[in-house]
Each structure stands twice: as structure tokens, then as C-alpha cells.
């Protein structure tokens, strides 16, 4: 059975061109870029090329603003700790209730360390109140960390506007752009963003590589202390092959940017519209206008997400859910709860996230397979439209 992979916000396929580019750097050109011989120097030059390609995609002022890390989570941790340690007298952080755990749990940790953290709310569409942000910033505020686009709903925040407010008030601005890079056009030269995190495996590079963009002149204390790599900003021997792969992936993302905005968006809309039309008691979570072109988050009332995923998986369809049962915790998605989506909807929420490899045939298969799955589970449910319900609702 062929897999129909609609879970690209979780991870993506390594692009064949990326894989080809990486391949020689495992067993042929395995030199250490820090070595004083031309065998190692060769890999150093390739890393410099990758740095350039990434800076290009981000519209960064200089490749030296790119710092390689091991993943998105490391980038987020490095951003938060690296900035806070550089301004030890400031003790306030602002973030949102809908961040990825890499930021959310790091902030909770920092609270235990004595920091004051403001978690901004979102409205039902998943958008922030910028006035609330403006009022929350005080002279004690060191850092504001707000994601570019939400991984669960795809909702995009007006990051440049947010960054401008933060800069105007004199704080540092970090954005977790793990879901945005490759899907949204960035031009960091012209943007007030100070620091940005990205992750390789979300844009068709391999797992195990990430980037921290550090605007020139930003005060930063290294998070991983060790050798002189990355200009002393991140110790540790470079993940050479993955870094080279990420460079290629960024080049490809630039080339495919228009396709992401047109073909992928059209397929996503086709999937979403058809599901809403065919399946009753269904709704889309989050702002549908300011949204990643590849993501849709749909709630199916009366049923639970894990059961839907299991039946989809039987048919080779891979998606994900914000239900409690899939998260490993007992509470449903913190993002949907922050949006005050009723529990009747959160438990049955499914996220489909497409990529440039998604085909129309695949989307049509999913549309056809979904209705019987939903019907079948609703027939079992005591809350289903044909059931008498349960007394103790």
C-alpha cells in the first residue's frame, strides 16, 4: 500500500536532490571542517556554501548571521537562554499560549528559575491582540518570543508588525519560524526580527540539523559551550552532511516557493472544501486567511481523533490529531484550548499538512476515504447524530 503522507508539519521527506548532495559527505569526504588539511578544508567550503544558500532564502544581511544547530528545539533553547544570559538584570519574558513545547516548556522552566513570563492569549481564530502585547512590554522585558506560524493550525502571526512593536519598546525579538521557512517568503534584511529558529527536516532536509539566525550585533551568550565552531557561538563538530543538505533544501525551497503558494494551496483548499461539503458537523480551526498554504485543521464532531487516525492509517493515509489520546497527555491540544475551541471539537480534530510532493490524486483519495470513516465512528459514538446521547454529558 502506498502511503499518502499528509503529515508534513511533523516531518518531511528528504528531497532526492538533497539526499544526493549529502551522500558523498558520509564516506567519501568525511573530513572535519576545522582540520588544517585540504581534505577537511573541502567540507568547510561546502558548509560556507550552505550558509550562503540559507542566508539567501532568509534574505539575511550576511551568511555570518547563520548559526548551525542540531534541531529546532536547540535553536529555540539557544535563543532564549543565549539572550537572557546576555542581559542578566532583565527578568521578564513574553511569549504566547500557542507556542511549540520547545519554547513553552523552556519558558515554564525559566519561571521556576525566577523569571516572570507573560503568556499572551489568542482569540478564537488563533490570532493575537497586539494591544495586549504592547501593554505587556515593560522596561524589565528582556525578550519576546512569538512563533511565525502555528504548527497545529497553520495560523500566521503578523510577525514583522509584532517585531516592530517589540523593538520600539526596546526588547529583543525572537521568532520560532520552524513551520514558516520554505512556505512563507522572508526578507530578514528589511525585517526587525533579531533572532529566528528553523529546523531542517520541516523543509525536506534531514533530521538533526537546525539554524539559529542571529542578526549582526545581537548580544548572545553561547548555549552549547565548546570549540570555536560557528564563530564561537555554538560548540560541537558540524553535522556536515546534514548542513550541506539543508543548504540544498533551502535552495530548492526558493525555487518551489511559487508552487507552494499556488499548487499546494489549491490542493489544500480542495481537500478542505470537499470535506466541509461532504461531511456534516465539521469545521475548520483557526484563521483561514492568514494561514500556511499547506495546512488545514478540521474538527469532526462527536468522535475522537485517534480513532480517525487509526482508520486513516489502515488506508495508508498519514495525518495527525490534537486529541488527548494522541498527544500522550490526557488533555487535548494546548493550541486549540487556547483558542477556546469547545471540547466537543478539540477531541476530534485532525491536521492535514501537505507538501510539494502531494498530488491531486492523493487528495481525491483522502476525500473519498474520509466520509465512510467518519460515518463509521459516529455510528459507534453515543453522541453521534443518530444516537440518543448520554445523560451525563
Amino acid at each position: 500500500m502506498k502511503t499518502i503522507y499528509l503529515d508534513n508539519n511533523a516531518t518531511t521527506r528528504v528531497a532526492p536532490e538533497v539526499f544526493e548532495e549529502m551522500r558523498p559527505y558520509f564516506d567519501e569526504f568525511y573530513g572535519n571542517p576545522s582540520s588544517m588539511h585540504s581534505f577537511g578544508g573541502m567540507t568547510a567550503r561546502k558548509i560556507a556554501e550552505a550558509r550562503m544558500r540559507i542566508a539567501d532564502l532568509l534574505g539575511a544581511g550576511s551568511p555570518s548571521e547563520i548559526v548551525f544547530t542540531s534541531c529546532g528545539t536547540e535553536s529555540d533553547n539557544a535563543a532564549l537562554f543565549g539572550i537572557l544570559r546576555s542581559y542578566p538584570s532583565k527578568r521578564h519574558i513574553i511569549t504566547t499560549k500557542v507556542e511549540h513545547p520547545a519554547v513553552l516548556n523552556t519558558c515554564r522552566y525559566l519561571m521556576r528559575e525566577g523569571y516572570r513570563v507573560t503568556f499572551l492569549s489568542v482569540d478564537q481564530s488563533g490570532q493575537l491582540d497586539l494591544e495586549e502585547l504592547r501593554e505587556a512590554i515593560t522596561p524589565d522585558t528582556c525578550l519576546v518570543s512569538i512563533m511565525y506560524a502555528n504548527n497545529e493550525t497553520g495560523v500566521i502571526f503578523p510577525i514583522n508588525e509584532i517585531a516592530a512593536i517589540v523593538k520600539e519598546k526596546g526588547a529583543i525579538f525572537h521568532t520560532d519560524a520552524v513551520q514558516a521557512v520554505g512556505k512563507i517568503s522572508l526578507n530578514l534584511k528589511e525585517s526587525p526580527i533579531d533572532i529566528l529558529s528553523l529546523s531542517g527536516h520541516k523543509l525536506h532536509a534531514s533530521k538533526g540539523v537546525g539554524v539559529l539566525y542571529l542578526r549582526e550585533g545581537t548580544k548572545f551568550t553561547p548555549f552549547l559551550i565548546g570549540g570555536h565552531q560557528e564563530n564561537g557561538r555554538r560548540g560541537g563538530t558540524e553535522n556536515v552532511a546534514s548542513i550541506i543538505g539543508l543548504g540544498k533544501a533551502c535552495e530548492l525551497a526558493g525555487l518551489h516557493y511559487d508552487e507552494e503558494q499556488t499548487r499546494v494551496r489549491t490542493l489544500r483548499d480542495r481537500l478542505e472544501t470537499s470535506i466541509l461539503e461532504k461531511v456534516p458537523n465539521t469545521l475548520v480551526n483557526g484563521d483561514r486567511v492568514h494561514r500556511l498554504p499547506n495546512t488545514t485543521n478540521i474538527s469532526f464532531e462527536f468522535i475522537e481523533g485517534e480513532a480517525i487516525l487509526l482508520l486513516l492509517s489502515d488506508r495508508g493515509i498519514a495525518a495527525s490529531s490534537g486529541s488527548a489520546c494522541t498527544s500522550g497527555s490526557l488533555e487535548p491540544s494546548h493550541v486549540l484550548r487556547a483558542m477556546q475551541i469547545p471540547f466537543t471539537h478539540t477531541h476530534g480534530s485532525i491536521r492535514f499538512s501537505l507538501s510539494r510532493y502531494t498530488t491531486q490524486e492523493e487528495i481525491d483519495t483522502v476525500i473519498n476515504e474520509l466520509l465512510p470513516i467518519i460515518d463509521r465512528l459516529r455510528a459507534i459514538s453515543p453522541f453521534g447524530p443518530k444516537s440518543k446521547g448520554i445523560g451525563i454529558r
Binding site: 480513532a307 489520546c325 490526557l330 466537543t344 453522541f383 448520554i390 451525563i392
Partner: protein
């Protein structure tokens, strides 16, 4: 992805007894849509024999919740209410060849729905949202009482707060009640130890010899014989139990140390004495 047994997947894909009995003799409803799982159980009961003639379920929940409900209906059909009421959540999980630890609360939900159904038949009104007499809510997020937590800890020999959360959901929301769950765990463990302490003190030598003989005969010999071996008790001297192994046990490569340790453990358990030592004598 959860590591579900084949049996769980079978009951999820082909749930038995789905639906609702018209004018049922008993209804058990448990959970709600806020918690993320709910089960409605309806029963047809023969009033004279109190036998469960038919059982149907409707479930809102994940794969293992649906499988646990399906398994429950299969287990209780044909049983009397008296027999059915003895079914524990562990038996539901065992029937499905086990559930992931994090999903054990699905089997507890099955047990509770059955309890509620039997109560409804007996005319005991479901507590609805009120807390039953003498119980107190510990976890306010999921509405779990101290009695329920104690019951599940005892039934499944739980030792950590995390386990209690996996089995009852208590503590899985805001987490404020975790210290209270910790206290209940300590209480149950203390009670358990007191009970154990009340068990027979030290056996007399004569009793000990009898128990050792019985254990070797009934528990160890069949195990060895299954592999073509055998065992013989040679002598008991103080805490040393001298045994002779024969048959394939003689040439078995895993024999010797392993078998001695195994027998020692069995005997220690049987006579409740950690000093006992099984020793092999040569042919």
C-alpha cells in the same frame, strides 16, 4: 504510535455488539465528551435468573476505548450479574492481550460502566455529578474520587502517581492533586504492609519441610518435567535445601546456577523466609 495488541486492533476494527438496546433493563453511562471518552452500555437481563442476555455499547473515544468496550460486552454476555460484577479492569485488559500503560484508563472505564449498569438495574441511582457519600473528589479536572483511586491502586498494585494517572486520569490535567495522590499511594502501601505483617509469623521447622516438599512437587517438578527433567529432594539442613536434578536437567546448558536461583526464589516465597537456599548435590 501506540503499540496495540492484535486483539485490540481486531476489536477496534470489528467492534462486537455496537448499538443500543431498545427499552434496556440496565443502562450504564460513564465519562463525558469533555474528558475525551465516554461509554454507554445497555443490557438485556433475564429477570428470573439475572443472566445478561444481551449487551450493547456506544463509545466516544480512541481505539483502545472502543476495543475495551467491545471486549467488555463479549465478556459479560451469558454471565449472571453476580458473576459479571466481579470483572475487574485488569481482566478487560488481559482479555485484549494487554493495553499500553497510558491507556489502562480505557479498561477502567469499561469496569465503571458495568458497575453503573448493574447499579441501575438494582435501582441504585447513578451518582450523576454528585459525589457519593463518604467519598471526596481528589482530581477536579477529571472528577476522580479518593475511593476510585484507592480501588484502582489496590486492584492493579500501582506504586507511582504516573501510573494512577494512566489508570484513572487523575492528576493528568492541571496536576494540582498529585501530592494528594502521592498521599493515597502511601496510605495504601502502609495498609498493605500492615496486612502482610499480620500474616503467620515464623513457620515451625515441620511446617517448613511440608511446604518445601509441596512446592517442589507441585510447582517446580511439573516445570522441569515439561523439558524432560526431574528433581528430587535429598535433605533439608537448617536453611539449606539439598536437591538432586536428573534427566535432561543434567545436561541442560542453562542448568546449574539458573535453576538453583529459580528454585531458591520459589522456596523463599513459599515459606516466606529470605534465608532459604537451594543447593544441588552431584549425582
Amino acid at each position: 504510535m501506540w503499540d496495540y495488541s492484535e486483539k485490540v486492533m481486531d476489536h477496534f476494527h470489528n467492534p462486537r455488539n455496537v448499538g443500543e438496546i431498545e427499552n434496556p433493563d440496565a443502562i450504564g453511562e460513564i465519562g463525558n465528551i469533555v474528558c475525551g471518552d465516554a461509554l454507554k452500555l445497555t443490557l438485556r437481563i433475564d429477570r428470573s435468573t439475572e443472566k445478561i442476555l444481551d449487551a450493547r455499547f456506544q463509545t466516544f473515544g480512541c481505539g483502545s476505548a472502543i476495543a475495551s468496550s467491545s471486549a467488555l460486552t463479549e465478556m459479560i454476555k451469558g454471565k449472571t450479574l453476580e458473576e459479571a460484577s466481579k470483572i475487574t479492569n485488569k481482566e478487560i485488559a488481559d482479555y485484549l492481550d494487554g493495553l499500553p500503560e497510558e491507556k489502562m484508563h480505557c479498561s477502567v472505564m469499561g469496569m465503571e460502566a458495568l458497575e453503573a449498569a448493574i447499579n441501575s438495574y438494582r435501582g441504585i441511582k447513578a451518582p450523576a455529578r454528585e459525589v457519593p457519600e463518604g467519598e471526596k473528589i481528589v482530581c477536579h479536572c477529571f472528577g476522580v474520587t479518593d475511593k476510585k483511586i484507592t480501588q484502582v491502586i489496590e486492584m492493579n498494585s500501582l506504586t507511582t502517581v504516573e501510573q494512577v494517572t494512566n489508570y484513572t486520569k487523575a492528576g493528568g490535567g492541571c496536576g494540582q492533586c498529585r501530592p494528594q495522590i502521592e498521599a493515597i499511594l502511601a496510605e495504601v502501601s502502609k495498609k498493605g504492609k500492615e496486612k502482610k505483617g499480620a500474616l503467620p509469623k515464623k513457620m515451625t521447622t515441620l511446617e517448613k519441610i511440608k511446604v518445601i516438599q509441596e512446592t517442589l512437587e507441585k510447582e517446580i517438578r511439573p516445570y522441569l518435567r515439561a523439558d524432560g527433567g526431574d528433581i528430587e529432594l535429598v535433605d533439608i539442613d537448617g536453611n539449606n535445601v539439598y536437591i538432586k536434578l536428573s534427566g535432561t536437567c543434567q545436561s541442560c546448558p542453562s542448568m546449574g546456577f539458573t535453576i538453583e536461583t529459580f528454585i531458591t526464589q520459589k522456596l523463599r516465597q513459599a515459606v516466606n523466609d529470605e534465608e532459604i537456599e537451594a543447593k544441588r548435590v552431584p549425582e
